[in-house]
Symmetry: C2
């Protein structure tokens, strides 16, 4: 095992000039010493991070060290204090590396020695969680997080310590904690799960930091060194071949951090493992796919997700910096610019320098199908983007597997974005993180009772019951069957179906983005179908974001009193605010958000009632946001198809006082099931007809266009543009 690359060693020797040569290079990869010491002419983002870290650490150094006896659960004083101390150890260590100022090394040493003195005496945490209890924290996940930071801090300053200091810190803190997290917590350490990744990363990084191969080996291969558990196995299992993490981007971001940090150490210490090339570069793919899963800087809020989490989280600051270090992809620099924040690592400094040198290029946002499941066989997250402009129209189709315990019951669900905004949205998680007054900051009861339920999503609900009857265990067994995925310029398509969400009923969805001269911007054509032998009620909700402007139907509004839309499965949290009958089987609703108009024009099935709705019923604690929805309800039918054209149109400028194209261009929408294919004709108000043809096979078909001419085309999809 090669402990440190020669180049990195040399760099470190120069960098940590006042210190002995550290054994490892965690903070110095691809970094020459003069770069570490020469301040930039114009302060870069990294320089600002360094300055503010210096201020924070200097302030902490002026106060007495506090290492309290563990007492509080998450959010409490001792919990937060230990977290603060870990950040101080990491940051002060980095400050020593970047500035060479001894005082930072001594501060890290003081903190670590203090911990080493008390840690061995700490038994299980008094407020321990039942599963995976910790000693410093209520759960050992936090303890792993702590050690990841402390081991790096130790490594940064270890060369400045006396032999006695090293012995004290290593034996009583680093080894003691590593032993606890590995041999002492086998159920977590061996688990192929993100908690296991945190544990193996903590123990592995510690192994490199103290120069003990045994810890590294256990971290990589599991306690019994069989490879059935451990980091390498986690890399094989936890991401799909496309780098998708099955709980979705919100948790992917969190799971990513120990992967990329430990991998960085592996790369620096054992480059012969080519860790970043394993599984066709799965870690780089995981970082990139995390980035692709954002709009407006925020992650697609599928499954349990706080909607304000996005690419600027610490995890992805590390991820982007390490990926740039590996790939040199200038598109990552524009992501770093959007993040606007940096971490105290050489990789992050390199990113800031490259940005300052003007090397940034736009990130290559594009349409993609991210296969789900270890083998890529459990559905997919389809992302369709109209252009590489991150604020342009985008569709996210949730054709993934359930997403385990944090998964929502939203098979074939849709998110639609435009103009930097959520337009058709997902509620996300019902939770106020860390806000004690709101159910202690935990997931609210409304998370399971409303946010996870199917009606809270833009997908079909049968008989007011959620997919898989709201059972996660059932949901975990099934993934949708993927249909064609197309990304040509004028026609993009995402499609999938499932017969598992409701036994006896097949649901399918084909969602296209087309470009045609009849419309100023690309438009969405969304075909949602249900086929069943029995008679059902089918509800298709569109949770739209904006102010209702116009409808083509007459609303009978619940304007003097209101009652909930239903009694269970999430319906009880929604007020019915009005209802209507479709006109000529076409339901059109126009709303305004910021400076744009959006129209949903749906060709509705027989027996359809239009419902207008708003979240917030049965909410005595005011836990829910108030958001409007359109619900199209077809009753007492066995088969139903809802074909919706979604237009982004016009402009509203209250400053210059003009409004253009506030009306939909759609005059009618018709859908016919022909033999072997679906046909959708859209007639524009200007009299143009656009025809979309979608087949389940690659066969050749023949049909007539709007002018009556016979046209041959090949499946799975064809667009007859208007003339």
């Amino acid at each position: 095992m090669i402990r440190t690359s020669t180049l990195a060693l040399a760099a470190m020797a120069l960098a940590a000039c006042a210190a002995e040569t550290p054994r490892t290079s965690g903070l110095a990869t691809n970094q020459s010493a003069d770069q570490l010491f020469v301040p930039s002419v114009q302060p870069t983002g990294f320089d600002k991070t360094l300055s503010s870290a210096r201020e924070a650490v200097d302030a902490a150094m002026a106060a007495p060290i506090a290492v309290p006896v563990p007492k509080d659960a998450g959010g409490g004083y001792t919990h937060e204090k230990h977290k603060d101390n870990a950040r101080l150890i990491f940051n002060a260590g980095a400050l020593y590396r970047f500035t060479g100022e001894e005082k930072y090394a001594s501060f890290v040493a003081d903190l670590l020695e203090e911990y080493a003195t008390v840690y061995p005496n700490w038994g299980q945490h008094p407020a321990k969680k039942e599963q995976s209890p910790g000693r410093m924290f209520w759960q050992n996940l936090n303890e792993s997080w702590w050690l990841v930071h402390a081991a790096q801090g130790y490594e940064s300053i270890h060369g400045t310590l006396s032999e006695e200091q090293r012995e004290h810190i290593e034996a009583n803190l680093l080894r003691n904690m590593s032993d606890f997290l590995s041999e002492g917590s086998p159920e977590t350490f061996n688990k192929v799960h993100n908690h296991g990744t945190w544990a193996t990363a903590a123990v592995g990084i510690t192994g490199y930091a103290i120069g003990d191969d045994a810890y590294v080996e256990k971290a990589l291969l599991g306690l019994d060194l069989s490879g059935e558990g451990g980091f390498l196995r986690q890399m094989d299992v936890l991401f799909s071949p496309d780098g998708y993490y099955n709980e979705g981007p919100y948790y992917q971001r969190y799971a990513l951090m120990p992967f990329v940090l430990f991998a960085k150490y592996i790369e620096q210490n054992e480059p012969e493992r080519e860790i970043f090339e394993v599984r066709d570069g799965i870690l780089k793919k995981a970082i990139e796919s995390t980035i692709h899963q954002n709009y407006g800087g925020l992650f697609f809020p599928i499954n349990d997700a706080l909607k304000d989490k996005g690419i600027a989280t610490t995890e992805l600051l590390h991820g982007v910096a390490i990926a740039y270090d590996l790939t040199g992809d200038p598109g990552l620099l524009s992501i770093a610019e959007a993040q606007g924040k940096f971490v105290l690592t050489p990789e992050s400094k390199k990113v800031a320098d490259a940005i300052a040198a003007g090397k940034s290029k736009p990130f290559d946002y594009r349409s993609m199908r991210l296969l789900d499941g270890q083998g890529g066989t459990e559905g997919a997250l389809d992302i369709l983007r109209v252009s590489d402009d991150p604020d342009d129209q985008a569709l996210v189709m949730k054709h993934t597997s359930q997403g385990l315990g944090h998964g929502h019951f939203d098979k074939l669900g849709m998110l639609y974005y435009d103009n930097g905004n959520e337009i058709l949205r997902d509620y996300g998680a019902a939770r106020f993180l860390n806000i004690e007054a709101k159910y202690g900051g935990h997931y609210l009861p409304e998370n399971n009772l409303y946010a996870k339920q199917t009606i809270a999503h833009n997908t079909l609900v049968v008989d007011e019951t959620s997919h898989f009857n709201g059972k996660t265990a059932t949901g975990n067994k099934f993934a949708p069957e993927l249909g064609p995925f197309i990304t040509t310029t004028n026609l993009q398509l995402s499609s999938a179906k499932t017969s598992d969400a409701y036994p006896g009923t097949e649901l399918s969805r084909k969602t296209a983005i087309i470009r045609d001269a009849a419309f100023a911007r690309p438009v969405i054509i969304d075909i949602v179908q249900a086929k069943s032998s029995g008679s059902h009620q089918y509800d298709l909700p569109f949770h739209y974001n904006g102010q209702l402007i116009d409808t083509n139907f007459e609303i009978s509004a619940d304007s003097q009193s209101r009652s909930p839309l239903g009694e269970k499965n999430g319906y009880q949290y929604i007020w019915k605010t009005g209802q209507a009958e479709p006109v000529n089987d076409l339901s059109q609703l126009t709303f305004l958000l910021d400076d744009r108009f959006y129209t949903l024009s749906t060709a509705t099935p027989d027996n359809t009632t239009i419902l207008l709705a708003e979240t917030g019923a049965n909410d005595p604690n005011f836990n829910l946001r108030r958001e409007p929805a359109l619900v199209l309800r077809a009753e007492k039918v066995s088969d139903a198809s809802f074909v919706t054209v979604i237009e982004s149109h016009g402009e509203y400028d209250p400053t210059l006082e003009f409004t253009v194209n506030s009306h939909s261009s759609v005059a009618s929408v018709s859908h016919r099931e022909e033999t072997g294919y679906d046909r959708v004709d859209i007639l524009s108000k200007a009299g143009q007809t656009v025809t979309l043809l979608l087949a389940d096979s690659n066969e050749e078909f023949e049909t007539t266009d709007a002018s009556g001419n016979s046209i041959k085309w090949q499946g799975p999809a064809h667009l007859l543009n208007s003339q």
Copy 2:
């Protein structure tokens, strides 16, 4: 009368190199020719404006000229086309001035000749409004606006025309239209009102452009040259001595444009009038007071106001540029930076150049009392700011007069801002400007029925009836009586009272901002009092912006059904969503907006019920936004005082996952009316007491502080900080 300053003449001679020397200097004040022609090294904001104007004008020049026969009302084709043409005439004229390219001059000439050919034959507009009909437009206000632009365009290119062309355009268009707007529309032209300002500005600018003193004199002095009407009289009457316009900032912005444009022409042509020094510099004050009346770039939305209108409107682009040209105040440059847009005038170019030269300084945002009324005797708009940071806490107290037909019934109303956001807000106008589907883009019925009513504002409602019984004519007669206004560092105060809003009941409000060590940020102390001989119901609404987080009272929520809060005077548009009883006469409600918490802690009167509410009842057309409110209701009392402490506290960071100070620091609030003064004691949860003493006079008083020590102090206000 001096037509053109010598310096400006010389500059223009150089500038319009291919043309004859124009007679006036409208586009060349303080501008030397080389500045006009030398492109900036880095394109300034002005350069970008010029480029995009060039693109737009070039595109228009490639299409045939269209001067349609007047037919449509506002928003229709002929209406919009004539507006477009006026902008083209202005912009193409400016392009000729700035670039010297003849093609722009010919285009202006072509357009003006076309209009000159057809305009004399146009009688009254077929869709004319009853009052002040136009010929090209349905109302002559639009015609004045058109001529303001066309006269400037003519002036820009007039030197390039043949004698015949000039004769044709001047006689058949400019004089014809000026005659129509002056002698032909005396009721508007002589009116001391902003429509009159547009008319006189149009005629006056035309007079300068064609060199005819008679038009200028009429514009300045009215048709009979008596000075009882006309521009100079309007300057005397329409603004208060502090530059406040009695309809509020939304209309002030609109009224401002003809004032500053015509005044610029007067200054250039007749500098001996010292027009910008008239009435102690009233026009400069009007521009500055308009700027001061914004938060987050948007005007305070008092009275009928679209909430998305702000400092970036065209009117204020001209206003800021002209003010900077006059004063050189570098604080105006930061306003121009915030505007981010420019107009094609030399003054706007000068602003862009100064910004590019790094001359910008922060604008001097500060607390101020803007007296209302021609003589400054009709109340005031009080603005209290915590600092000159435009995103810091700010209070707006509406102690003004009614504000005429666009005025709302919100005597003693309050707006509170913080962190760049509206926190306690005003609904503004109920209107979707130019959105035809929403009541033709006009003010909605809900504007009079809800938005203007007292309950829609943060001020006291007696017996569910609006101020002045909702009668504008009554409201116009009265203004509040102002009390002390204080702007010291640790204590700021706005105060006023009125006995006119409800005959027989005196309402008063004293609102302070204090700084004290007991609170991390300055806090508001708001005392609302009613005194009456009879027994009444007093409702104090707080229309808060954010997610309800916590209350100190137990809410009995209307969570299974909802009904309106009342039946009339705006109450019918509000859902009751819950109610509660105060605990120990203290009502505390905490809400979250973005990353901050806000708590309203009110010491409530006897017989108080707490109501939770939300707009949107009786809204079958979905015309209203959904906004929450807290309504404190005291029933069957004659006197009542509501003393509210408003705290901005803590921080919520979902990215770094921490929350601090999410709880209020207030333990209790007590209010006592002592002889000659009010005493408010706030006890913090940490046990500190802060005491605010407010008297109606400047007398000396004696009281005891929280420690029992006797303290002497002098009215009108004194703060006993916590120890």
